[in-house]
Amino acid sequence: MNGKVTSISGATVCVDLPDLKIGDRVFVGSNRLTGEVVRLDSHIATIQVFEENRGLGIGETVTTASGPLTVSLGPGLLGGVFDGLQRPLPLLQKNSGDFIASGQNPFPLDCNRGWEFSSERQPGDALRSGEAFGRVREGHIDHLLLASQDGTLERMHSGVLQLEQPAAILAGNQRLFGWHSWPVRLARPYRSKLPPTTPLVTGQRCLDFLFPMLKGGVAIVPGGFGTGKTVLEQTIAKFADVDVVVYVGCGERGNEMAGLLDEFGELKEPRSDRPLMERTIIVANTSNMPVAARESSIFTGVTMAEYYRDMGLDVLFLADSLSRWAEALREISAALEEMPGEDGYPTYLGSRLSGFIERAGAVKTLAGGQGSLSMILAVSPPGADFAEPVTQACLRVAGALYLLDTQLAHRRHFPAINWTQSYSLYSDTAMAHFTEQHGEWARLQARCSDILQREDALREVAEVVGMEGLQDADRLLMRTAEKIRLDFLCQNSFTEDAYAAPQTTIEHITALVAEHDRLAAALDGGALLDDLLKEAADAPC
């Protein structure tokens, strides 16, 4: 069906097109720009356009696509680089050059590629939507092909499968392909949610040891500019012990995305020794790309993440940054002249955000397996003021807070995770797990937190009386705390130290605490700290 553009205000366009539904996808103007219906008033529909629409004229044609904004899900997503509408960026470059042109809609998956197909089910089986009927090998994972509808299997494909060939035929000549599409704003179904129980090892000592994360959990990482959000997110993307990583660069820097692509193209995943890109999907909607596509980018990303979760895999979703998403939401809301809430954000910011974050979790899948979708989300609070609406809205639903501290960053303490204000609600569960595997974890964690807290108190004293005025025992504690901070909590993402396995982490902290205890015992025996330290410095390492 066709309609005509009746008004244009920035990326918000009105058309006289009846019978549209909220969320429907449309193509606007002679350039066929992708848009989404966001409001309906009798016969006028308001469209949010996802592409640069400069030059769009009144009276140009608007056509409907069938259904809402969707992503295509199938083998070949891994290793892909997409924009916020799941358009494959390498293909866009091939088609339209180094600068992004509007009105391009190439299919996100490679139809020419052949996949060795093996069937999971027999003809005659009753197949339910969401169940696996076949599998292909995609890089290091078994990619399950999931049914997009119910039916009785009649015929199965055998041998090499291409995406436009039917992989199975259901009774009534319904065809199942190796791919299907799914609306981005609709969470993919699962059988039931499970409580997260397994630790997600990030390889960051500070996180794994003090504020552990669980598979299926949600952590937020707020921090002012220059506090290392992006480096932390990217480091976790490299080393986290999950099967698939979805990284969404939402409204961030283009050069950073270029760096990420370069690096991920070269690096190998430490456990499997396979190229890192083989387990990674990147959604890159940089800050100068259209705002509405930025808003949809996290949904595009999370839908792909859910798809891999539904195969029974552990998926980690990283977004950098959620604040840019919220700002996109605010810009769209302002263009629609909605009543603003706090700081101009729409009042539905909180509910929209929790709806999104609740797509994380450990689940029993429709295919019968267990999968998890974890989220680590960066937040960029204006002026590093954590009282702002986006941070606060996230805190209500996230299970862990990794707060990045401007002061620490200025001292080049990276990752700049503030150890007094950060927390993890998953700590107890993860701790039980770690203690079982590596011993003593919980005891050492308590010791370590205690030392760091006492250092804070002592430092206030030292600022008044000077280090000279402190007792030897207190000076020892300050020294140990400094070692914990500089040697243990600091971790350079650009060296070999970037990843620390749990076993080395525990050995590292055990050694630091043991040295402290040894020196403390010597002090109790009447030794002087300066002598002990001199001895330690002279001893060959």
């Binding site: 244009i8 400069r54 220059g226 050069n255 600022e463």
Partner: protein, 441 residues
């Protein structure tokens, strides 16, 4: 599609820089319009919003003398494009691309839309090549690389202008390839303009300047950086030159954005700046970069004057979130007579890691920078302690660290008007660290 130019005399309202027209046939978003004032003056404008046959036009230039009866507005179906060509080198233009240097307009070879198109993230090449600015605090500790955007956060009264001027004269590529400077001055006072004119005279033809003076139309403040970046992209990606774009001062740009936004009756955000300021600034800053397979690069050095010296003010805050680091100037250092007064602790270059070391600057660069930074940070921390307990109440090592902080500021940060090569910068660093060997390990 209209095929001929359409003229209208149907202005219903004029508010600040905005015109409201009615009964316009098939207008386009971003369409360029020509406005003929009753006194014969010609202005240009751009379509911002269309509702049916009603059109909102933003005028580039003052709206004084326009009326609703006789003023004619003509629509010609084209979006705003910048004229480009070899003739633009060595020229000074105003915020609407009119010559400001009393020479005739050059003959454009072709035209490109001023808003530009985003670089495809997969086409971007990661910035890795060192640019020598001649300032130790930048080259040594916050290294600038080709394709980076690195703002200077200044405060009112600090010598940002002198630094900009030195950057214009001094910035060099190690391989001394062609390097073109694009100067964008937004809301510049006549006094400052005199100052920059002298600099530009030294530059011969290796520059293009866009000067919007403080009493020029406000709308042109929004246009000037876009024109300049369109020029820069053309020089970099078509003519394969390395381009350094210096914008001074982004604070005036943002204030202009706020002014126009208020005239459009948009919802104000923090401190009255529009909610879309992040995206708007990104549409400028993100035009910096390099592209795989093309030789040129666009490097961006904007100056931001922090209102009330406040780094959390929306302008420096949003800038810092988009750019790859920041160079922060300090009033405190300036009062000590240190030039350039760069406070290295809050300063940062995110892309430095790639641009230094063997093959770029020197093998020991990274170690030297880390040691300097760490030791100076310790020294600064101790200054607070010194203020409470006095120097005598401190450990001997701590007193040495205090001395280090002072010497670092005097020898390394302070360099006066002298240009230091990267070798000289690193040698200074090495000598300083050697003199304090016992506390710098």
């Amino acid at each position: 599609m209209r095929l001929a130019e359409h003229q209208y005399r149907s202005i219903t309202a004029i508010r600040g820089p905005l015109l409201f027209l009615e009964r316009v046939f098939a207008a386009r978003l971003g369409e360029l319009v020509k406005i003929a004032a009753p006194d014969g003056r010609m202005l240009t404008g751009e379509v911002l919003k269309i509702s049916g046959d009603q059109v909102l036009v933003q005028v580039f230039g003052g709206t004084q003398g326009l009326d609703t009866r006789q003023t004619t507005v003509s629509f010609n179906d084209a979006v705003m494009r910048a004229p480009l060509g070899a003739g633009m080198l060595g020229r000074v233009f105003d915020g609407s691309f009119r010559p400001r240097d009393d020479l005739p307009m050059f003959i454009p070879e072709f035209r490109m839309p001023v808003s530009g198109a985003p670089i495809n993230p997969v086409a971007r090449a990661h910035p890795i090549e060192f640019i020598e600015t001649g300032f130790s605090t930048i080259d040594g500790l916050n290294t600038l690389v080709k394709g980076q955007k690195l703002p200077i956060f200044s405060c009112a009264g600090l010598p940002a202008r002198e630094m900009t001027d030195q950057l214009l004269r001094q910035a060099r590529l190690p391989d001394s390839g062609p390097f073109v400077l694009v100067l964008v001055a937004i809301g510049l006072t006549h006094f400052e303009y005199q100052f920059y004119r002298q600099t530009l005279e030294h530059m011969q033809s290796r520059f293009v300047a866009f000067i919007n003076l403080a009493d020029d139309p406000v709308v042109e403040r929004l246009l000037a950086p876009r024109l300049a970046l369109t020029v820069a992209e053309d020089l970099a990606f078509r003519q394969e030159m390395d381009v350094l774009v210096i914008i001074t001062d982004m604070t005036n740009y943002c204030d202009a954005l706020r002014e126009i936004s208020t005239a459009r009756e948009e919802l104000p955000g923090r401190r009255g700046y529009p909610g879309h300021m992040y995206s708007d600034l990104a549409s400028l800053y993100e035009r910096a970069g390099r592209i795989h397979g093309r030789k040129g690069s666009v490097t961006l050095l904007p100056t931001v004057t922090m209102p009330e010296d406040d780094i959390t003010h929306p302008i420096p805050d949003l800038t810092g979130y988009i750019t790859e680091g920041q160079i922060v100037l300090s009033r405190n250092l300036h009062q000590k007579g240190i030039y350039p007064p760069v406070d290295v602790l809050p300063s940062l270059s995110r892309l430095m890691q790639n641009g230094i070391g063997k093959g770029q600057t020197r093998k020991d660069h990274r170690d030297l920078a880390n040691q300097l930074y760490r030791t100076y940070a310790k020294g600064c921390d101790l200054r607070r302690l010194e203020a409470v307990v006095g120097r005598d109440g401190m450990l001997a090592d701590d007193r040495r660290l205090l001395d280090f902080a002072n010497r670092f500021e005097a020898d390394f940060v302070h360099q006066g008007r002298e240009r230091r090569s990267i070798e000289a910068t690193l040698d200074t660093a090495q000598a300083l660290l050697a003199a304090f060997r016992e506390v710098t390990r």
